[in-house]
Symmetry: C2
């Protein structure tokens, strides 16, 4: 008999048995075979049904809200308020994707009728995106709902018309299980095929999952190390499949002189909230803040240190995050020129609590040793003397999901040359705000140049669906064999017909 | 001094010196550095300029038509007529991409204004696709224009706003050089930055190129073996980059009973042309044809054998293709149950000529030994007894760029269950035609499941541009810092605004 999985309450450090056994290799094979069976069935159903499935999942999650939040609270140490918000965001996303499925633009349907061209007579060609097949999803520890069993990758893959098999995160197996049960209940209500949703537990089961021939794509949110481990398994497959990884991010934030003068106190408070929220365990947490050197910077740093010092201790998600945060802090404190602005005393309380930290260094001393991601409540303040020094220092920061600029109209001109640099180094540029709190919408992009992510795709927002689709073309097909979206008389979705983009009254907004 | 590269006339086997030296590592570094410099400059120019660049390249290729065609004729053995057509297709594609750049839909511009949502107040977020950076292009031997220096990958990468460095194919270095010179002349006319186009020669230079830190993506058309070699180099990079490979394809063709009865003679002639055109060296050549067993099949096979036997000998592109075709033929002829329907006599003439071949086997005998790609003028006819036997036999065929179905209205019903199988196994389904002759248009898809290609993208048609773009989002950006395509009052391109797709009078057709 395999040992069962344990779970730990990060608030107390108390470990307990979950009663959940790791999924065996044979069980993984059965689960994926069911997903494969479901793939053709789901692909053959209408977009309307697919949208009802997404809505049904959202409804069911809402019905299980109390159990989901209380279970996640115990397993993650995140506050109930934060988890309530995260679950709302998760159901909002499922419904938004349902809207997108009904609207149909994501299919990128295109029709080129047979015609004479400068190259001679050309055949009728029609194209749209179709589901890739069963998708494996690996969620993160820090978002037990939004990037986990019912999260963005699952919503994207289902919206694209694929079955999903989730690998439950080892830090919240019970939350994964109750989330999965809630999703199953929602799926059954709309008569989804059995293999629409599957779940596996245990690290080995995750490897077996991505090695399975029927898995067509992998969505992953987590650490670079875990990603490399999975990638090695995926690269060993005879048939390569896409691996969409959201990996790590330092998220530089730059404050200009005018912004510091005009809003220094306000930014100190805002930044403090942004780096301490959820124990600093957000992939978009600004980990490094550049301020123009001088008296105002000293005052800013003091205020930031006070605000951070006065905030509640951060409860980290699990022992691994605790250990890794400790290593990062030690490494950063030992880096040349670094000064600590907050006390290092371990906070009162038990479990995986840590004191939020503010460190400081001069831009001229900045090296890559200073720009590692510390996953937890920490920010490094960097004093720069001019835009040139700032540019050199920014080049030491790994490419990130986001880059933030606090700037006033009066000094836009001085900073404008930096914009191409920030754009090349990130996936989202935030002005006069904070990168945490990622809007779920049509225009959102959550991704960035390596090592933020490993592909040119997003894992948040409607266009995340594109990852789990592939193009398919039909040449001279009889009308009856075409998907309805590609028939001449179908006018319910936006399409490109003979090069012209044609919208419909249904191509409506949200 | 490095040795200079040689070139061989496939019609005679005569080898001669090109005077072109392999590009050294230092030279590659200089060329890529220039491309990197050009990247920011090109990205900052207008779409109108970018469209003029594409038009200018097409114009210049037309002006150099005679020299290009005669050089390619000598290096590839392809006929002047075929090369004239290929060059026309290449310039047509550049101009079509210019239209697409003007139209602007490929940017996928989206604006979500700040608003109240069920999740609270949300910021203004705007997103569009931006160029990835310098692109390395590896062309194929069989399309010296359309998939080579001035081909689809180059057109896609430039349309996306990236500089391009091409690795010249070793089988046509002179064609590559004159193509490059023609493109350079066109680029200079619109005042393109020097690094907009670069070229390197020699296998080692190709490896050095993809290993260079500034290269952001690789487009490749060629053999699986060469692709694996490059992939190994790419996977050794600290920063992973996308590798878009178009690799190999067997392209099954299925004839139903009613189609064989109604059009057997016509299909035999059409198929013969499709497999012997360009010496059978097309990635979409139908390499395996399934016919319903019986007298009609015997007659069809005889007619096909006669038509193929009467066609001109195929001149293969180079010694490697010649050797590989010989191995494939020997291997297929030795496979269980295979009968040759055409003579194996080597045709008269010198150089790399081969006799086109038709082989035949029973579906029940079909194994993966029968379904290798023979790159050259060869087709394997497979007799099947019913749809079940056909389905089992099709499962032995590697996934392909295309799948073709010759069918009549009267027996559509009997074959319809096969459609999901063909769709899962290919990227384009062709009805009552031949997969060779790929239309260049908005709706085209040229790609397919592994091993046809290694990604879910196309290398022909307007959407090929997507490969060399990445999303970028702006949050709460001042209007003046946004690209003009994302400003509120800009109405010249289709955009998704607050979820609604909005077209313009300029979203016109072709």
């Amino acid at each position: 008999m395999p040992e069962t999985l344990t779970t730990t309450d990060p608030r107390t450090g108390t470990r307990s048995d979950t009663g959940i056994a790791p999924t065996s290799g044979d069980e993984v094979a059965v689960i994926v075979a069911r997903a494969k069976d479901a793939a053709q069935e789901i692909a053959s159903r209408s977009r309307a049904w697919r949208a009802r499935l997404l809505d049904g999942l959202a409804d069911s999650l809402e019905e299980h809200r109390d159990r989901l939040v209380s279970t996640a609270e115990t397993e993650t140490g995140l506050t109930a308020a934060r988890l309530e918000g995260e679950l709302s965001r998760t159901t909002f996303q499922l419904r938004l994707f349902g809207e997108a499925v009904r609207e149909g633009g994501f299919l990128e349907a295109a029709i080129d009728h047979a015609t004479e061209t400068p190259l001679g007579r050309q055949p009728d060609v029609r194209r749209m995106l179709v589901p890739v097949g069963p998708v494996a999803v690996f969620g993160s520890s820090n978002f037990p709902f939004a990037f986990s069993v019912p999260g963005g990758d699952t919503a994207s893959a289902l919206a694209a018309g694929n079955p999903v098999v989730v690998k439950a995160h080892s830090a919240h197996p019970l939350t994964s299980k109750v989330s999965y049960e809630a999703l199953r209940a929602g799926a059954e209500r709309v008569d989804a095929p059995e293999g629409t949703l599957g779940i596996v537990f245990g690290q080995q089961a995750g490897v077996t999952l991505v090695e399975h021939a029927a898995i067509a794509a992998v969505g992953f949110t987590g650490s670079l190390g875990a990603a490399q481990h999975l990638r090695a398994a995926i690269e060993g497959r005879p048939r390569p499949i896409p691996f969409y990884g959201e990996l790590q991010s330092v998220n530089p934030l730059v404050i200009t002189e005018a912004a510091l003068r005009a809003r220094g106190a306000e930014i100190a408070v805002g930044l403090s909230s942004s780096i301490t929220a959820s124990g600093g365990q957000l992939c978009t947490k600004p980990g490094i803040a550049f301020v123009p050197a001088g008296d105002a910077a000293d005052q800013f740093a003091r205020r930031l240190g006070d605000a951070v010092g006065a905030s509640d201790p951060g409860v980290l998600l699990n022992e691994r995050v605790l250990a890794s945060f400790g290593e990062s802090v030690a490494s950063l404190e030992a880096a040349p020129g670094v000064i600590a602005l907050t006390g290092a005393t371990t906070p009162d309380g038990t479990g995986f609590s840590v004191a939020p930290r503010v460190l400081r260094v001069q831009a001229r001393d900045l090296t890559t040793a200073h720009t590692i991601e510390a996953f937890g409540p920490l920010v490094l303040v960097v004093d720069y003397h001019d835009v040139d020094e700032l540019a050199v220092a920014l080049a030491q920061v790994p490419h990130s999901l986001t880059a933030t600029l606090h700037v006033e109209d009066t000094d836009l001109g001085r900073i404008v040359e930096l914009l191409p640099v920030l754009q090349e180094a990130s996936g989202r540029i935030v002005f006069n705000g904070y990168p945490t709190g990622v809007r779920v919408s049509w225009a959102q992009h959550h991704g960035g140049p390596w090592p933020a992510t490993n592909t040119v795709h997003t894992s948040v927002g409607v266009t995340a669906i594109r990852r789990f689709l592939r193009p398919l073309a039909w040449q001279n097909a009889p009308e009856t064999l075409l998907p309805e979206e590609l028939r001449d008389d179908f006018a319910e979705i936006p399409r490109r017909v003979d090069g012209a983009l044609i919208t419909t009254s249904r191509s409506g907004g949200s």
